[in-house]
Subunit: 243 residues, 2 copies
DNA sequence: AAATTGAGGTTGTCTAGATGTCTGCACTAA
DNA sequence: TTAGTGCAGACATCTAGACAACCTCAATTT
């Protein structure tokens, strides 16, 4: 079996790496969440290595959050196998301009909260003023693509809280609120995703994410209308900037 | 010394945990970025444990991104990252436009290589054509800030390979090669840093990095002159985009 | 019936030793 | 002077064995 094809020749990968890869495949393809792995002794025997070497291999899976060890009980499969090998060629290129403008997005949360420090500052309102907090998930090819947290001053655009559903937010603002907006500033950084985001985006937590903070203002009055923080999977999304 | 106060009694923390905590304190208080730790053999002797146990302890610090191991050289202290995350105001904001334009940068490598697939395509030249490969490190506040890999067609701007030292590359192109260039496209993504980059940027490998690929063309002829891939620390750098 | 004990299985930690691989540097030879 | 060789130092991997800590569950005791 391929499980036993451990190459010990010089120049090849370390044994523990090969085993961890073999196990990773097996876990992702054959196991489901909650399943228990064979015991360390058993696996060590299967791969013909010392238990320490096997443990080293499993350490990698633990690191990646694929499995969890329980002292005295066994090693269990954690995440339902996510095929996050979407394929390097299916990468998306995202134009910054299209961020708030286009496509369908599903509303995950919609609530009214008091503006905290950063948000209040960006929107130029008093701390504690009520803002609409909107969290949306955008999908491409029926795969999660990015999550956006929108903050809008409630007083300016109450219609958003009342009746916005799932179309383009910017189109909604224009037609229903008579507000035309434009982007003034974007800040881009690389971060580790929060647990919730990682879950929504179906990405492992150790994979980097791209975060874009944007401020949109009303076209004429220059008054801040929307502050957005969008998170992408680092591996599938690339932002494209054309000056 | 407290370094030697390892409690092996039952009910106490595992030895390797105690050592990793002891080392963590030591590294954070007595060492600065770039310092080298005593060798594993030395530390094992100091704590009176087997080298494997000591390695296990150091593994923790590596996991946390406090130190980085270099095969054959030693174990080195990285720049503290948590401080940066807390002090949001010490972050750098980088204007995309200034990427190639400004400031001093140190040349890490300068060589002539044949253009491979991606580079050849971007520069619109035959695969195998000779290009100048320039790797530069830019510092801010005498801290490493970003690393750039530049690719320029040798035939177009041979002066760069012959005499470029450490000023602004774009200024050099303009004065010495009579080439004015402008940016046509930038692609931004989040990645895990390569080992070398992590070392140069003094960042842990599990911390995300920001990667910007840009293409610069000659202003008049639109001919590609420079393809640049720049890597930043995700936590200290933010790209600022103003439309 | 309920509580306790104990055996066996499983992961966790530690030691000991051997060998592989990478780096830097001194030395040598052309 | 320069290129190459070789060696020592340092981290990387692998094996072997032992015991500790923890969990489950059945057998025993109360």
């Amino acid at each position: 079996m391929s499980a036993l094809m451990i190459n010990r020749g010089s120049g090849s990968l370390p044994v523990y790496k090969q085993i961890s890869e073999s196990l990773r495949q097996e876990v992702q393809n054959l196991y489901k969440a909650g399943d228990i792995l064979p015991t360390e002794a058993e696996l060590a025997k299967r791969y013909n290595v010392n238990r320490h070497t096997l443990r080293h291999a499993v350490d990698e899976l633990v690191e990646d959050g694929l499995v969890i060890r329980q002292h005295g009980k066994g090693t269990f499969v954690l995440a339902p196998s996510i095929d996050y090998v979407i394929g390097a060629n299916t990468r998306f290129t995202e134009n910054l301009e299209s961020l708030g403008v286009t496509t369908q997005s599903r509303v995950l949360r919609k609530q009214i909260i008091p503006a905290r420090g950063g948000v209040a500052e960006k929107l130029q309102i008093e701390e504690g003023t009520e803002v609409i907090f909107l969290e949306t998930l955008r999908e491409v090819d029926s795969k999660p693509f990015c999550i956006s947290s929108h903050f809008l001053p409630l007083e300016q655009v109450p219609e958003v809280f009342e009746s916005y559903q799932s179309s383009s937010l910017h189109a909604f603002l224009e037609t229903k609120c008579s507000v035309k907006i434009k982007r003034t500033e974007s800040l881009i950084s690389a971060v580790s995703p929060l647990a919730d985001d990682a879950l929504q985006l179906q990405m492992p937590r150790n994979m980097p994410a791209l975060r874009v903070k944007s401020l949109n203002v009303e076209m004429d009055s220059q008054k801040p209308i929307e502050y957005v923080v969008t998170r992408f999977r680092g591996d599938t999304a690339q932002l494209s900037i054309q000056p």
